[in-house]
């Protein structure tokens, strides 16, 4: 209240009693607080500052917040700095803008408030700016209030709400006013009205404010159950014996999530702190006491060699305790018995039971809606992971799926595509244009690489797929090392164009980054193109004929050698284009491709070799499955991957031909 009066006072007093001169002195006196600012100390400083002229102060605070201030090391005077030439700088007075003197770089230092301090400064600036004529300043102060609303802001907000003319700002102020009323309002009816208004709002801010209303105290304890009647009880807690965490934790947490529990030991500590129970003797303390009572290698006449079991130690200790009048040892089940006469509970900090109940109700209904969005979010996550797997595997769908060539260097074609994107960006700085060029260029480069590889290596090995596997593995490690030698081991940036930055925000729980949407679209596009090429074009027809029966095909006038070469090149080219897309959301390194290779093969195999539809099905299955398992076990993506692979291994046992199996002659493998 005092604070508020001071603000009002300073608002009314035009530039009066306290001149700049005074403020300057004040700053000089407090320069230490400004130079070595900490969010703990800055609060008191900001309170004192309110008595000075508001324009001067707000100008100063803005400079401070934006890291524009410097100080002279010798005198600790706070100044602005402007550059004179390479070696010398001018120090400039903050208020008069007069040049104070020339300095060298080592004479002064920048003042760097940390983000905690900056937040406090912004909050203090609210008082000066919320009624400002400048809309931007008002927006700034509203934004600062969004971070934290103090009790004294309530009145300020009420007034601002009445005065504000800008419609969009008014909505924002209304929202903040609602929050302020909920948290700091004195009238319970008004608060209940606000609660009703917020029922349909599922934003994170609203949930944050509502949760604040439901804050609870520490765990308390009482002997008398009647004590609880007058309190706004949040929860009554029963202590339990909690076994130590052991092996298999990963699997356990896979099935259920842990709830808040109160262990017997902790409960006993609380009870003891509140004076309800005697101090407990722990096993360690017991051991110390025993050790202090050793006489001639014996305790109470028993040889210490026998003390290698806890049961023996406890037995003797309890005897000793009776003699020496100490607390006897009690194990966890006995402790649990002791605790039965006590009641452990938590109370809401909010005193009004009706408000907490109402809040809970509102929060529950909000959470129900939120859950829906969470599932939707999970679904979209699965979709986006599937499209990534699909992109990784799509080239393989042709080279492996259609031609049955095991190309271990497939991952390296993806990598080549990504590096192509990077190199193009080095020369063309417009990211949109560079992408437009990179996609076809990556196709051409990897197409050529694929054709060369087919001519030089794979052509000789069509009869033996296992040999192809080894030869292409050789190519894979050679290409990987070559990329390292050329581009270095550092990850290279492949920056997406600005319009792919950020995300499509539906609400606080559902946002999809544009890049993921783009990858999904790209995946669909690839799928359609591939389907078109394979089913509707002459090339696709010939490819299928060659892979199904090369002898017959060549009798019909198809040149199998040429078709094999082109098909392999086509598959490699597609991998290259996928590489550009993958590089956009992950990092471009020489190992980029090898991360996708095993997964890609599994995608194709699970889906069913020989069918592009199969690859799509495989990618969807793997992508959704992985997200689904991760959802069970949020803290362990590794476990999710392990379980997923085990699932795939089992899956193939039961459907060796994959999800979508070809029928008839085309299904004949080898």
């Amino acid at each position: 209240m005092k604070y508020l009066l001071i603000i009002l006072f300073s608002l009314l007093s035009f530039n009066s009693a306290f001149s700049e001169e005074n403020f300057n002195n004040f700053l000089f006196k407090n320069s230490k607080l400004i130079i070595n600012s900490s969010s703990k100390t800055v609060g008191t400083f900001l309170e004192k500052i309110n008595v000075y002229d508001q324009n001067t102060v707000s100008r100063f605070l803005n400079l401070w917040k934006n890291k524009k201030l410097f100080y002279i090391k010798e005198t600790k005077k706070i100044v602005l700095i402007s550059k004179f030439d390479n070696k010398t700088y001018y120090a400039i007075d903050i208020f008069s803008n007069a040049k104070i003197g020339k300095m060298r770089k080592k004479d002064f230092k920048k003042i760097k408030p940390n983000s905690g301090v900056r937040a406090k400064i912004s909050s203090a600036l609210v008082n000066f700016q919320i009624f400002s004529n400048d809309t931007n300043k008002r927006i700034n102060s509203i934004n600062a209030l969004e971070k934290k609303i103090l009790p004294e802001h309530l009145k300020l907000l009420r007034k601002a709400f009445l005065l504000e003319e800008d419609d969009r700002l008014k909505i924002k102020i209304k929202k903040l006013l609602q929050f302020a009323i909920l948290q700091h309002g004195a009238d319970d009816n008004e608060r209940i009205n606000v609660l009703n208004e917020l029922k349909t709002n599922i934003s994170l801010e609203v949930r944050a404010v509502l949760s604040k209303l439901l804050r609870t105290s520490e765990i308390k304890v009482t002997k008398n159950i009647e004590d609880l009647n007058n309190l706004n009880i949040a929860q009554i807690i029963k202590p339990e014996v909690i076994s130590k965490k052991q092996f298999g934790e990963a699997i356990k947490s896979f099935f259920y999530k842990e709830k808040l529990k109160l262990s017997v030991i902790d409960a006993y500590k609380i009870a003891q702190k509140n004076g309800f129970l005697d101090k407990r003797v722990s096993l360690n303390e017991l051991k110390l006491i025993l050790e202090n009572n050793i006489v001639d290698n014996k305790i109470l006449g028993i040889d210490i060699k026998e003390f290698n079991k806890n049961s023996k130690r406890i037995e003797v200790y309890n005897k000793l305790a009776k003699i020496k009048n100490l607390n006897i040892y009690r194990d966890e089940t006995e402790l649990l018995n002791d605790l039965k006469q006590l009641h452990f509970y938590k109370v809401y900090i909010e005193k009004n039971k009706y408000i907490t109940n109402k809040t809970k109700q509102v929060l529950d209904s909000i959470n129900f809606k939120v859950k829906f969005y969470k599932y939707l979010d999970l679904f979209i996550d699965g979709l986006s992971l599937s499209s990534i797997y699909f992109l990784g595997a799509i080239g393989l769908a042709i080279t492996f799926g259609v031609m049955r060539v095991i190309n271990m260097a497939h991952g390296e074609f993806i990598m080549m595509g990504a590096y192509t994107g990077y190199v193009v960006q080095l020369y063309i700085t417009n990211h949109t244009l560079s992408l437009i060029i990179a996609f076809p260029l990556a196709f051409i480069i990897t197409f050529i690489a694929g054709v060369i590889m087919e001519r030089l290596v794979i052509k000789h090995l069509y009869k033996n797929p296992l040999d192809t596997l080894l030869a292409t593995f050789g190519i894979s490690i050679a290409l990987q090392q070559l990329a390292k030698n050329i581009f270095g081991t550092q990850a290279r940036p492949l920056t997406s164009p600005y319009w792919l930055d950020g995300s499509l925000i539906v609400n606080d729980d559902l946002s999809i980054s544009y890049i993921r949407i783009a990858i999904f679209v790209l995946g669909v596009l690839f799928f359609l193109i591939l389907l078109f090429v394979m089913k509707k074009t002459r090339f696709g027809l010939e490819t299928r004929s060659v892979t199904q029966n090369p002898v017959m095909a060549s009798n019909m006038g198809v040149n199998p050698e040429k078709i094999n070469m082109l098909t392999f090149g086509f598959g490699s080219g597609i991998a290259g284009v996928a590489g550009v897309a993958i590089g956009l959301f992950s990092k471009v390194t020489s190992e980029l491709g090898s991360e996708y290779i095993v997964q890609s093969f599994m995608t194709v195999v699970v889906g069913g070799v020989g069918s592009i539809w199969g690859t799509l099905a495989g990618a969807s299955l793997i992508g959704f499955l992985q997200k689904f398992i991760e959802w069970f076990n949020p803290s362990n993506t590794l476990a999710a991957q392990t379980y997923m692979i085990i699932f795939i291994i089992l899956f193939i046992q039961f459907r060796p031909k994959g999800l979508i199996a070809l029928k008839g002659r085309a299904a004949n493998d080898n």
Partner: protein, 423 residues
């Protein structure tokens, strides 16, 4: 037969030549030049080569030239043991500078302790170790993780913590210490969210959205990231895509420095934090001349980072210690190391403590648009702690090689638990 010839050839080639003149001092450099860790470690190899070159221009040590012996353990942990043995027994190096990951150090440790070698280890690590044969010039948790957490608690008023890390030793142990530390500070266990991801993890959307929704109860959320290497790129990209600003949910990273940021578009990371003992932006004459020399050697685009400074300090200390001891004998040098002081690049001095750790200042920096850090907090020199005070089983342990002659000394029972380390 061909096998035999190869083997004999190998033996001869590894014999080396004896020199009639003053024998050079051999420094073994044990950093991966290929494989996943090459990204970070190649830079350290280059740093060492530059330092050795500079020292040789000054006339070497004790009038003897320094000769670097570079090997490539190829990010393959068992190879660290193999190469360390080769350096110590075949190449007969006087000292080793190397390793990055804790696993690689743990792999080389038994060899070092068996053959009484000397290793300078330049990377921030999880602590809980003090080997007679290793000098730890990087930060231990109390020189990086704990001050950063304090900064969160005191300056940013963070109430909920997300401890995200790559699944290996350093994050595991650091997070264990931090969790206990936070609980001691009164943060309830339910407000601490811990997550581990594999090396090179790239799909961060779920984890980032989990972190964002932690803020649903209105408490300020802070992320403490021990995510290693490449995985950071995807993580920060996803953060930016989720619209998480440093003001809402700050991220403090212990493994992200100038080098890692140079592969990233940093516009969206501005304001996020990192804690180190060194930043390139530190203002001191020593630092500017170091940066100048580095850029002159490696190109203008290259940056400097904390482990490089650790090697600079370690190397300078080694030079001083050899000059003090008058020999390169491991035991003599080790004794001479205690209490040696050399200037930090950030101003102030680093001192080698009897527990084989350094006293160094802790710096916290905010990421700037140009990929550099704006230092917003710098402490006095903090002595490195081998055994943390925040875990009950380690709190009783102490390391003092100078007076107690033990790296794992139980102060409760006054016994030395072991002279070698846990591997």
């Amino acid at each position: 037969m061909r096998l035999l010839i190869t083997i004999l050839f190998l033996c001869f080639s590894s014999l080396g030549f004896a020199d009639g003149h003053k024998k050079p001092i051999k420094i073994g450099i044990l950093h991966s030049l290929s494989g996943t860790m090459a990204i970070s470690e190649t830079t350290l190899k280059d740093t060492m080569l530059m330092l050795i070159e500079q020292q040789n221009k000054k006339g070497g040590i004790l009038g003897r030239k320094i000769e670097p012996v570079v090997v490539d353990p190829a990010s393959n942990w068992p190879l660290f043991a193999e190469k360390a043995r080769e350096l110590l027994t075949v190449q007969k190096v006087d000292v080793l500078f190397g390793c990055w990951t804790s696993v690689s150090r743990k792999s080389a440790l038994p060899v070092l302790e068996e053959l009484n070698g000397l290793l300078f280890y330049p990377v921030q690590y999880e602590g809980e170790e003090s080997s007679k044969n290793v000098f730890y010039t990087g930060a231990s948790p109390n020189q990086q993780a704990i001050p950063a957490t304090d900064y969160y608690l005191e300056e940013l008023d963070v109430k909920k913590f997300a401890l995200l890390g790559t699944d290996y030793v350093y994050p595991r142990t650091t997070n264990k210490i931090l969790k206990q530390y936070l609980i001691d500070k009164g943060i309830p266990e339910s407000d601490i969210f811990v997550n581990y991801t594999p090396f090179g993890h790239s799909d961060w959307s779920k984890i980032v959205s989990d972190v964002v929704s932690l803020g649903a109860d209105g408490k300020k959320v802070g992320v403490i990231s021990t995510i290693n290497g490449d995985a950071n790129i995807g993580f920060y990209k996803e953060l930016a895509a989720a619209g998480v600003k440093a003001d809402d949910i700050p991220v403090v990273a212990f493994s992200v420095g100038e080098e890692e940021l140079s592969g990233l578009d940093t516009t969206n990371l501005v304001g996020h934090l990192a804690a180190w003992n060194y930043f390139q932006s530190a203002e001191s004459d020593l630092n500017s001349s170091f940066i100048k020399a580095w850029k002159a050697k490696m190109g203008n685009k290259r940056v400097t980072n904390d482990p490089m400074e650790a090697h600079v300090i370690g190397f300078n200390m080694y030079v001083k210690a050899v000059e003090k001891a008058g020999t390169t004998g491991v035991d003599a040098v080790r004794k001479a190391m205690y209490g040696i002081k050399v200037p930090n690049l950030t101003g102030g001095t680093a001192e080698m403590l009897p527990n084989h750790h350094l006293s160094k200042p802790v710096l916290i920096g905010e990421i700037l648009e140009n990929g550099q850090f704006d230092i917003i907090s710098q402490t006095k020199e903090v002595p490195g702690d081998a055994w943390t005070d925040h875990l009950p089983e380690s709190a009783v342990l102490k390391s003092d090689w100078k007076s107690l002659g033990c790296g794992m000394y139980n102060t409760k029972t006054n016994t030395c638990i072991q002279l070698k380390s846990n591997y």
